[in-house]
């Protein structure tokens, strides 16, 4: 596949009078790790919701590997390889950590592949240093471990091509943070998965993402390396206010 992996074109969303996303166009190449940054309220999560089928588009289109995703239900989008996490970690609290990992594998259509799923889950538990908690209910996990489990679950979908992580590093301790970074780097380098990472943690974005897209007030304001976009006056103004511009 030589073309782009993700093509989001003119994606628009209005909530009453507010334009949350105004003709957002973002293209991600296969195997790319892209950062998506911007001040609070810029419309990043709304964009993620539309990408993954949790919000309808008022205008625009979304394609993954050339195939249209617009209008598909969220579960089908995930099964086709566009998977997401949530800003506030969502896990199945009354199910064990291992069961949490098996669900996406079973759901994404691997008939009879239970053994393969078990092996894959064991691998991820080891990489994510969650092994000792495998049989515990997810409700006993700390905030950071929930975030990590949430991220691991997405990798269990065999077809994952683009993984959208919404603020995966917010409020988690440094050890878990390192485990998550290692997991992303591993899945990117060994399995060629692409990522779109929404984050405010600039040090991590600089390390993981060769290119970033900046959203301000519902629009794409800039795109380039983090250092390039950080010099753009409109980006500086959006983050620091006009006095600093």
């Amino acid at each position: 596949m030589s073309g782009p992996l993700l093509e989001a074109e003119g994606v628009t969303k209005r909530f009453g009078g507010l334009v949350a996303n105004d003709a957002v166009t973002i293209t991600v190449a296969p195997g790319e790790v892209r950062g998506l940054i911007g001040p609070n309220g810029a419309g990043k999560t709304t964009f993620v919701n539309m990408l993954t089928g949790f919000e309808t588009l008022d205008a625009g289109s979304i394609r993954l590997g050339g195939a249209a995703l617009t209008g598909l239900p969220a579960n089908q989008i995930a099964a086709r390889g566009l998977v997401r996490t949530f800003q506030v970690a969502r896990v199945f609290s009354n199910m064990s950590v291992r069961e949490n990992l098996l669900i996406p594998f079973l759901a994404a259509g691997s008939p009879g592949g239970v053994r393969e799923g078990q092996a894959k889950a064991a691998d991820l538990l080891a990489t994510g240093t969650l092994e000792h908690l495998a049989e515990e209910p997810a409700s006993v996990l700390s905030g950071g471990q929930r975030m990590l489990l949430q991220a691991c679950a997405g990798f269990m979908i065999p077809a994952v091509r683009l993984y959208v992580l919404d603020e995966p590093f917010a409020g988690i301790n440094p050890v878990v943070k390192d485990a998550l970074i290692a997991l992303i780097e591993h899945e990117n380098k060994s399995n060629g998965r692409a990522f779109l990472i929404v984050s405010h943690e600039m040090a991590i974005v600089r390390r993981l993402c060769p290119r970033v897209t900046v959203m301000i007030q519902g629009r794409v304001a800039a795109e380039g390396t983090l250092d390039e976009v950080a010099r753009r006056p409109e980006v500086v103004q959006a983050y620091l206010g006009s006095a600093a511009a």
Partner: protein, 324 residues
């Protein structure tokens, strides 16, 4: 993604354990009626009937998180469908009873579709309204249903010796529980529990939550319908009072006392609750007060029900640690 819903049925079942539990439970349950009076055998038979209803509701509310208040309605729908087929069309029972199951399965699908986008209290109210509508219809269409006069139906075996019906309800309850166990130990069971815990997260992980919910509605309704249809041919007279809310309340109490969302809840919840109901009935209206007091006391002490109590004691014995 149909493979995701039906693929790998029974993938996680440990058949040896299932066989061991059945082998241990069967002899005492089969021998039980030999040592009791006819009245007690009757109480046992109805208890087994309530195990079916409680298990079916536990599958829907406890494992899939759909807190429906229409389970007694589906039991009644199964009972009346079979009864009316015999009454109006002189259908043999081997046709009318499956007819009742089929009707309730379709009814479950219809109700499931209606409440698909509803959550929590909204779903409860809508399903309750469905059951009330059924009750009023059964009462108002008396020219067809005989309403409060009661619909007479023939017995299953040409007699009503309680012991035989006890074995019948016991066998059906065992089959229903086995079905539920196999479902829970299959991908579909994982999806049901995922939908209960967080439907949005389940959807984001490729689970087709629409089909999972509809499956739970259809399967649990059909199960209640089967129980109801058999019940009809044991009690022999049907009135709309079987759709009274107190029936639903009884099912809820059985499951919640057993431990909502625990597999054994209906087994350990239904018989004691029904026995207690019967025993307290001697006090008339006051029996409800005594019953409520017992329920509140137990819930206050053990919110996870008898299943929680058992696992707490079991856990303490095994690990030697105190429990919270």
């Amino acid at each position: 993604m149909s493979a995701g819903l039906t693929g790998g049925v029974g993938a996680f079942v440990e058949w040896r354990r299932v066989a061991a539990v059945l082998a241990m439970a069967a002899p005492p349950l089969l021998a039980l009626p030999l040592f009791v009076s006819e009245f007690t055998a009757h109480v046992l038979a109805i208890s087994a009937y309530y195990v079916i209803l409680a298990a079916s509701w536990n599958m829907l509310a406890g494992f899939t998180g759909q807190f429906s208040l229409a389970q007694h309605g589906f039991a009644a729908l199964g009972a009346y469908t079979s009864g009316l087929l015999v009454y109006h069309l002189q259908t043999p029972l081997w046709v009318s009873i499956p007819g009742g199951v089929l009707t309730t399965a379709l009814g479950g699908l219809l109700l499931g579709l209606l409440v698909l986008k509803m959550r929590t209290i909204y779903l409860s109210i809508a399903t309750w309204a469905f059951a009330e509508t059924l009750r009023i219809t059964l009462s108002a269409a008396y020219e067809f249903t005989r309403g409060d006069l009661g619909l007479s139906v023939p017995s299953l075996y040409g007699h009503v010796r309680p012991v035989v019906y006890y074995y019948t309800f016991l066998a059906v309850a065992a089959l229903c529980l086995l079905f539920i166990h196999v479902m829970l130990k299959s991908p579909i069971g994982y999806f049901m529990r995922a939908v209960r815990d967080d439907p949005m997260r389940a959807q984001s992980l490729a689970v087709d939550i629409t089909r999972v919910k509809l499956f739970a509605f259809v399967a649990s309704s059909a199960m209640a319908g089967l129980g109801g249809a058999l019940y009809a041919h044991y009690v022999l007279t049907l009135t709309p009072s079987i759709v009274d809310f107190s029936e639903m309340a009884r099912i809820i109490v059985m499951v919640v006392i057993g431990g909502l969302g625990s597999f054994i809840a209906p087994i350990i919840g239904a018989p004691p609750v029904y026995a207690l109901n019967t025993w307290l009935a001697a006090w008339g209206e006051w029996s409800m007060v005594a019953f409520a007091a017992i329920v509140i006391g137990l819930m206050r002490a053990y919110p996870a029900g008898l299943a929680g109590l058992i696992s707490a004691v079991w856990g303490r014995r095994r690990s030697g640690k105190s429990f919270l």
